[in-house]
């Protein structure tokens, strides 16, 4: 054991640690019983609870999507009336956006991984973290209650004056979303503080995994933008219950103001959904190319740039709303600049693969799928940013296809990649690689078959949110519907083999992919307190040119970990922390 210096000029005694394989006790079995889950302050368990919740809501949202697509097989009534259809598409959108995709990567994967990647025992405010989950659950209950009372039919955007006039349960739904917003704000704040204060010794900003940079940018948006949604929905509820004229012209309000307020949150929210996906992709491509991520700072900073520019472009949802022409021009101009940092990321990921050692495991298959699908989502965004073209494409299926390519082709695909990547870490079990690839093929084919035809019928003029349509669009609608069935089969396969792996899967090694970041420097599943030693970081998260042992440094005598040391095989070595 030797005294060495870390970046802060402090002297630390460090040594190499061995990582335990097949741990007997870990976070999953450290405590037992339902209460040990519901009242846990362990970020890993909270992450798992989020994962179960979002999986449940993804299932509901997905079934609703299949119902919608089935109704659209023909222009006439197949399953339901127009009023029912309007409720179903509203719920599909609202559930997928507010209950699934916003919490998907940040709250589920982020909660599980962020403290481990930092080498911390937990987030900065563990109890607040539990509160976030409970707030989310209460908000979700309100949303489900609105289903039972009178399902909302306004579209997930709740545009006024329709949302003021409709008889459906707008208040229950928006109040649920209002509550869930606080969950999002608290999680974001927790993550920001955690990243600032709880980095392991030696873990400088430039050594952090890019997933953390993405989570940081996301958290900033969550904290800054979500309150505006809360205010907007509160005003909407007041308008409905008290008749205060804010957004409804019949009461002297202004519906365009509502749209400004709504998109002031909901456009940055798009980046709450996609930026974490960028973080996941950086991890996947770095790990499975076994290569230093190209342009680390460019990728890290582009996440922040996207968060910043993305907050200034909300008006591009309103080019034909009646906002002034000048606003339209300015918002169009600003919108294009989001494309630059996004493009930089894609090129950097490609450059990372160049001369790498590429292992096409299931997560990497999803990462490559992401690059392809997200590029389509991105360039069609440029199309929609061009004002004159937007006037034609606005509120058509082209927009529907575009945001599904970004949200599903981007975020959901990255989420699937991340889920497979960290599944061994979270559960301690390996999934079936063969079925993983089969399912990814179903997802890829099904996704494109569902949404490519929507680009075409959209540019031909098929409006969105239509229960019936003129006959010329039927072929495209049918292709899209069949595609959605293929997509559904893909998700069923995933559910089956992941469930199977929990019961009969092979025991996962601590670091099955040969990754370098701290999340792989602990057992699978991790110890209840993440590490049995206090990690010390001396290298970047993607320094694949350095030996693996360099990544398992820890403080030699850590009072906080007394009692665990006997389980750790001591290898006294000298290490230089640069």
């Amino acid at each position: 054991m030797e005294a060495t210096t870390n970046g802060n000029g402090k002297t630390l005694k460090v040594r190499y640690f061995d990582i335990e394989e097949n741990p007997e006790t870990h976070y999953l079995n450290a405590e037992k019983g339902i209460k040990s889950w519901l009242f846990t302050v362990d970020h890993k368990r909270i992450g798992i609870m989020y994962l179960a919740s979002i999986a449940f809501f993804f299932l509901i949202g997905g079934i609703l999507a299949l119902v919608l697509r089935t109704e659209l097989l023909t222009p006439t009534e197949n399953l339901m009336t127009a009023e029912q259809y309007n409720r179903v598409f509203t719920l599909h959108g609202a559930i997928m956006v507010f209950l699934f995709i916003i919490p998907s990567i940040p709250a589920a994967l982020g909660n599980f991984l962020l403290p481990i990647m930092l080498g911390a025992k937990d987030v900065a405010f563990p109890r607040l973290n539990l509160a976030s989950f409970w707030i989310y659950s209460i908000g979700a209950l309100f949303t489900l209650a609105s289903l039972a009372v009178n399902p909302i039919d306004t579209g997930w955007t709740f545009y006024t004056p329709y949302s003021v006039q409709t008889g459906s349960a707008v208040i229950l739904m928006t109040f649920g979303v209002f509550i869930m917003g606080f969950s999002s704000i608290l999680t974001g704040m927790n993550f920001i503080v955690t990243i600032h204060k709880l980095r392991a010794p030696g873990l400088t900003w430039g050594r952090m995994p890019l997933f953390l940079w993405a989570m940081y940018a996301t958290s900033v948006i969550q904290v800054l933008a979500t309150p505006v949604l809360a205010i907007t929905l509160a005003l909407l509820i007041m308008e409905r219950t008290l008749g205060i004229g804010i957004f409804d012209p019949a009461l002297g309000g202004d519906p365009v103001l509502y749209q400004h307020f709504f998109w002031f949150y909901s456009h940055p929210a798009v980046y709450i959904m996609i930026v974490p996906a960028f973080g996941v992709i950086s991890e996947l491509i770095g790990t499975f190319s076994r290569k230093t991520v190209f342009g680390y700072w460019a990728i890290a900073m582009s996440s922040l740039a996207i968060a910043f520019i993305g907050s200034l472009v909300w008006g591009h949802h309103m080019f034909v709303s009646g906002q002034s022409e000048l606003s339209t021009v300015v918002f169009s101009f600003l919108t294009f600049f989001v494309g630059i940092p996004t493009g930089i990321k894609i090129f950097n990921w490609l450059a990372t693969m160049h001369k790498g050692s590429i292992d096409m495991k299931t997560p990497m298959v999803y990462a490559c799928m992401f690059l392809f699908l997200f590029t389509i989502g991105g360039v069609t965004g440029i199309m929609l940013g061009a004002i004159s073209v937007n006037v034609h494409l606005h509120d058509t299926y082209y927009v529907v296809a575009h945001f599904h390519y970004v949200m599903m082709g981007g975020t959901v695909i990255a989420f699937l990649g991340g889920l497979h990547f960290w599944w061994p870490k979270m559960t301690g079990k390996m999934y079936n690689e063969f079925w993983g690839k089969i399912a990814s093929a179903f997802i890829f084919v099904g996704f494109n078959l569902t949404f490519l035809p929507q680009f075409i019928m959209g540019s031909q003029g098929m409006p969105r949110r239509y229960y019936s349509y003129i006959e010329q669009f039927q072929t495209m609608h049918q292709l899209s519907t069949y595609g959605s069935y293929v997509l559904g089969v893909g998700f069923v396969i995933i559910a089956v083999y992941l469930a199977h792996s929990l019961v009969k899967g092979a025991q996962a090694p601590a670091n099955p992919w040969g990754a370098r970041s701290l999340d792989w420097m602990t057992s699978s599943p991790p110890d209840q307190h993440n590490f049995k030693y206090q990690p010390v970081v001396s290298n970047g998260a993607y320094d694949y040119h350095k030996p693996m042992a360099d990544f398992t440094l820890g403080i030699a005598e850590d009072p906080a970990h007394h009692g665990h040391d006997d389980a750790v095989k001591v290898e006294a070595e000298k290490a230089e922390i640069r």
Binding site: T81, A82, G155, F333, I346, M353, G356, V379, I387, P463
Partner: protein, 317 residues
């Protein structure tokens, strides 16, 4: 090529449609080149650099400034082109020629009313002459919700709101029938809220006008109705039509002139302003005039009578 064009876009039937399509195709072609490049790179790298053994090592390449500047600057140039192009065409789409034929459009759940300058009213079909710029003055019925007027073949779309006018214009290049849709979600009948724009030759349009007018002799043109209201509702007591100042400002040359108000603000006297100052006369008071106009016209005038007054005022240039 033409087959491909028709596959993606409906036929281009307005004067500005071809410009929109050109940009659409430009972005598609550049995007396709980019997408193919990225896809080839992914596949090529995945095969060429596939992992051969678990002991593979990779070179340390942290960044490459030349490369990174290149793939920042080229997209930057491209987006500026796309922005400028889209902006240029948008200016045209938002600038109706001065001599446009004006039609009032009213949307409601779930249908459309159109009113021509000569008083002809239509529902769920708009008849216009070919080769003539048509300006749409659009509004959703009071107390109704948002709607949007979308004619795919004209590349035209504009939302409509209650209590506020929005505008759009087009000039049809060919005769024929062109479908329009409602593209702002408005409830149960949203997808049924479509209709047609019927474009006739000038001769056919005149014939149609005569037929329609002959069928409804009572339908007065808006401006003529406005003149009657002006005379009968008491306006002429305070407002002149010859430029002279009475208790209130004159109506001559009022339309589109900048007005100054006692609260220090100014406004152009467009349709919205005229309607508001008839219905809510005490909201904005012109500098130099007393605040004493009766606040009764919301009750005493029909919507069409108010619009008639506006049209009447517009003619007093």
């Amino acid at each position: 090529m033409e087959y491909l064009t028709n596959f993606f876009l409906p036929s281009a039937e307005s004067t500005y449609a071809a410009n929109v399509d050109a940009l659409f195709h430009f972005i598609n072609i550049v995007s396709l080149i980019l997408l193919v490049g990225i896809t080839i790179a992914i596949i090529y790298f995945a095969i060429k650099y596939r992992r051969k053994s678990q002991e593979d090592t990779t070179p340390l390449i942290t960044h490459n400034t030349t490369l990174e500047v290149t793939w920042t600057v080229i997209p930057l140039i491209l987006i500026l082109i796309v922005f400028g192009w889209g902006f240029n065409d948008y200016v045209e789409m938002r600038t109706p020629p001065a001599n446009s034929y004006e039609v009032y459009v009213e949307s409601f759940s779930f249908g459309w009313n159109f009113e021509h300058p000569n008083g002809i009213k239509e529902s769920n079909n708009l008849t216009v002459p070919v080769g003539t710029p048509v300006r749409l003055i659009m509004r959703s019925r009071d107390g109704d919700v948002l709607h949007s007027f979308f004619v795919p073949q004209f590349r035209l779309k504009q939302d409509l709101m209650p209590n506020r006018n929005t505008y759009a214009w087009f000039e049809a290049k060919n005769t024929g029938q062109f479908v329009y849709f409602c593209t702002e979600y408005c409830g149960g009948g949203h997808s049924m809220m479509n209709g047609t724009v019927t474009v006739l030759t000038a001769a056919e349009f005149d014939e149609w006008n005569e037929e329609e007018l002959g069928r409804d002799l009572d339908a007065l043109p808006l401006a003529e109705l406005g003149r009657l209201v002006y005379q009968q509702a008491g306006c002429q007591g305070c407002h002149s039509v010859d430029g002279s100042s009475r208790v209130g400002p004159t109506l001559q040359g009022l339309y589109m002139r900048e007005r100054e108000f006692t609260d220090g603000s100014t406004r152009i006297a467009d349709e919205d302003y005229l309607i508001e100052s008839i219905l809510y006369p005490q909201e904005l008071v012109n500098v130099g005039y007393p605040n004493n106009m009766p606040n009764i016209y919301q009750q005493t005038l029909s919507e069409r009578e108010v619009l008639g007054l506006v049209e009447f005022i517009k003619e007093l240039q």
